[in-house]
């Protein structure tokens, strides 16, 4: 009747246990996204030695440090260009960029649209908590109108970015949005992008109880889950122009874009092969970096 329960959390092997406890607040959604990501790693059966994770700065920027993968905690806004160099130097890697809305769309916005334009094979996971949380609750380019922040004490009046629309317009091959209430759907999207070539973008709406929910009288983490449950509507394939977020309105979730555009390295290979023929040397096919020296070094 009773089955034996395994005492090990199935995602534990993916975490750097020696770094726990983590820095995130009670009720924060970032840990939930990490859980879904770990499940996506299990399900997608990718070779974990070939997965690298790159984060910028901020609360979500700390994800890289907690995952037991090759991980890079870079500078504010520059996770994507770092990941671009990493992917080009080692095309066999699956490179995941895991960062926040301020990091990816304010200070790093230019890099995001150019990486999407190039359709370079990066998997970008953007945890959107609608605020700058690490620095204490300032307005982000995602903060919805009328929300109170420390730098908009009378309410935000700037229009916010619609992240899926921006990613699609810039050229992303895959665009989805979920909330931390949608743990299975989120994990499935994360799993899907490992099999998708090109620039993939997943937005995950995630609560910041400490600096957004509380200041806006929206309750705690559990209240956020209720809010997401009641306000979310799944509309796969919805035109991204219609999925902008408001403070209290509907949250359209789903997979919005899944299209095939030529990937950056394929475009590069095609062009050089066309122009140079046999003279083109594709370093993706070379032995790994013979010019560096490597293990025999020093």
């Amino acid at each position: 009747m009773s089955e034996v329960l395994t005492p090990v959390n199935p995602v534990e092997p993916f975490l750097r246990a020696e770094r726990m406890p983590h820095i995130w607040c009670p009720g924060c959604g970032i840990g939930t996204t990490v859980n879904s990501f770990a499940r996506a790693l299990i399900e997608s059966k990718v070779d974990l030695d070939r997965v690298a994770i790159v984060s910028g700065i901020g609360c979500t920027g700390r994800v890289a440090g907690y995952l037991k993968l090759d991980s890079f905690h870079t500078t504010h806004g520059r996770a994507i260009p770092f990941a671009t160099g990493l992917k080009l130097a080692n095309p066999a890697l699956q490179v995941v960029v895991y960062s926040g809305d301020g990091d990816l769309f304010a200070i790093g916005g230019n890099h995001l649209i150019h990486a999407a334009r190039r359709n370079i094979d990066l998997k970008v996971i953007c945890v959107n908590n609608l605020i700058y949380a690490m620095t204490g609750g300032q307005t982000a380019p995602t903060t919805p109108g009328a929300a109170i922040t420390t730098t908009a004490p009378y309410g935000v009046y700037e229009p916010a970015f619609n992240l899926p629309a921006l990613a699609e317009a810039a050229g992303a091959s895959y665009v989805a949005r979920w909330t931390t209430f949608h743990v299975r759907q989120m994990a499935r999207s994360m799993q899907e992008v490992f099999a998708k070539k090109g620039f993939c973008f997943i937005e995950v709406l995630s609560p910041c109880p400490t600096l957004y929910q509380r200041r806006n009288k929206m309750g705690d983490g559990l209240d956020a889950m209720k809010f997401y449950k009641e306000h979310s509507r799944t509309r796969n394939g919805a035109p991204t122009g219609e999925v902008g977020l408001t403070r209290d309105g509907e949250i359209v979730v789903g997979k919005f874009v899944d299209r095939d555009r030529p990937e950056f390295r394929d475009l590069m290979r095609d062009r050089f092969t066309h122009q140079l023929g046999d003279r083109y040397v594709d370093d993706a096919e070379m032995a790994e970096h013979p010019h560096c020296g490597g293990e025999d070094g020093a």
Binding site: F72, G85, V281, D296
Partner: protein
């Protein structure tokens, strides 16, 4: 190790400093470059973009200098040797990633073909006014290595040294050219690949699971690994411990920053590349670097013709500053004359190192052209009087 023959254009060439710099990088094994167009440096990456597809590697033109200066760091952790190239305003934008490279001990080379500044300044005209920025430009405390070529041949030769130093000490190296050296065309001899010695990447010999990514070896430099090899390491710009994990306290800060500085300070003597001539018997020694050393040579010749005893000391390594050599010069000469294309940067270092043992005379110039040799000659005469 010897150079990879595919990157070495052995032979005698008639090319400018920008092109020679690119050939130096290729000979040194650079197979990744990222850049953003900016005068007068762009020719370096234009040549790289033309050459690299038939060698094997990648050039990517990024959306700005912030992007190119960190794309190269990603490429290094992916296993490549990498560099970026810029000038004045672009160099300012790269400062954060020079700090990130120093903090994460990422070997790489930043080329700055200096032009007049500040701000947009003189895009097509020379200066040597970023010398202090090269040393101190990123926030926080760190040591840096900076080399300064004075000819297209040296743009080739010293670029190989720049990569070798970056690999040996695991630090970003600043390659401080100027507009005139970048655009001056001269004979450049590129040797056979087996005549080019390269310092190989300090890759760990430890197995995954045994590696502490930031555990230093005897010379205070740690061995590294590349992503995708199974080490599952962590790299961060936060102050970190020997495992590479964030460590937010004064003790960890002192330990890490102390080591980052000491690994270079300790090597100052072997890093000091210079050229000197007739300094022992000199009353006046002219200390210069980059293009100004070519103009200074004319002034030195004229001074010697008029009977003055003038020595020449040319810095190839500007950072770490070769204090010991300057002290030696100051002990032997009455005066040190320091012409440079700025309003007084390296002259202050000379004053500091000389510590009053000799008179130090600067020959400032705001940039836009080189000095007139007569102006330097005048300073030599004054100093000798």
């Amino acid at each position: 190790m010897e150079a990879d023959p595919r990157g070495v254009l052995t032979g005698v060439h008639f090319i400018d400093g920008d092109h020679a710099c690119c050939e130096g990088a290729l000979a040194a094994g650079a197979r990744f470059a990222a850049g953003y167009p900016i005068t007068p440096s762009t020719e370096v990456v234009e040549r790289f973009a033309s050459r690299i597809p038939t060698i094997g590697g990648t050039f990517i033109q990024m959306e700005d200098e912030l992007a190119s200066s960190i794309a190269i760091l990603g490429a290094v952790w992916g296993g490549a040797k990498a560099f970026t190239v810029t000038s004045g305003p672009g160099f300012s934008l790269m400062m954060e990633h020079i700090g990130y490279a120093a903090m994460t001990e990422t070997p790489c080379v930043f080329v700055n073909v200096q032009r007049g500044g500040p701000s947009t300044g003189l895009p097509t005209l020379p200066a040597q006014a970023d010398m202090m920025q090269a040393r101190w430009g990123s926030h926080g405390d760190y040591e840096i290595i900076a080399l300064c070529p004075n000819s297209p041949q040296e743009c080739f030769d010293l670029m190989i040294e720049a990569f070798n130093f970056s690999e040996q000490y695991r630090t970003p190296v600043m390659f401080m050219m100027d507009e005139v050296v970048g655009h001056m065309t001269e004979k450049v001899v590129i040797p056979a690949p087996d005549r080019i010695r390269l310092y190989p990447r300090r890759h760990t010999r430890k197995a995954p699971g045994e590696l502490n990514l930031y555990e230093p070896e005897e010379d205070l430099v740690p061995a590294m690994a590349h992503a995708g090899e199974g080490y599952r390491f962590h790299v961060t710009g936060l102050t970190h411990d020997e495992r590479g994990y964030p460590a937010m306290n004064a003790r960890a800060q002192d330990r890490l920053i102390g080591r980052l500085q000491e690994k270079i300070r300790r090597a100052a003597e072997s890093l000091a590349l210079f050229e000197e001539e007739a300094v022992e018997e000199a009353d006046v020694v002219v200390i210069s670097y980059g293009i100004t050393s070519r103009v200074a040579q004319r002034a030195i010749d004229m001074a010697r013709e008029s009977g003055l005893r003038v020595g020449k000391f040319r810095l190839k390594t500007v950072w770490p500053f070769p204090d010991a050599h300057i002290r030696r010069l100051a002990a032997g000469a009455r005066a040190l004359v320091v012409p440079e294309l700025n309003r007084g940067q390296i002259v202050r270092e000379v004053e500091r190192a000389a510590a009053g043992a000799a008179r130090v005379v600067g020959v400032p110039h705001a940039g836009g052209s080189v000095h007139r040799p007569e102006r330097i000659l005048e300073a030599i005469r004054e100093a000798a009087a």
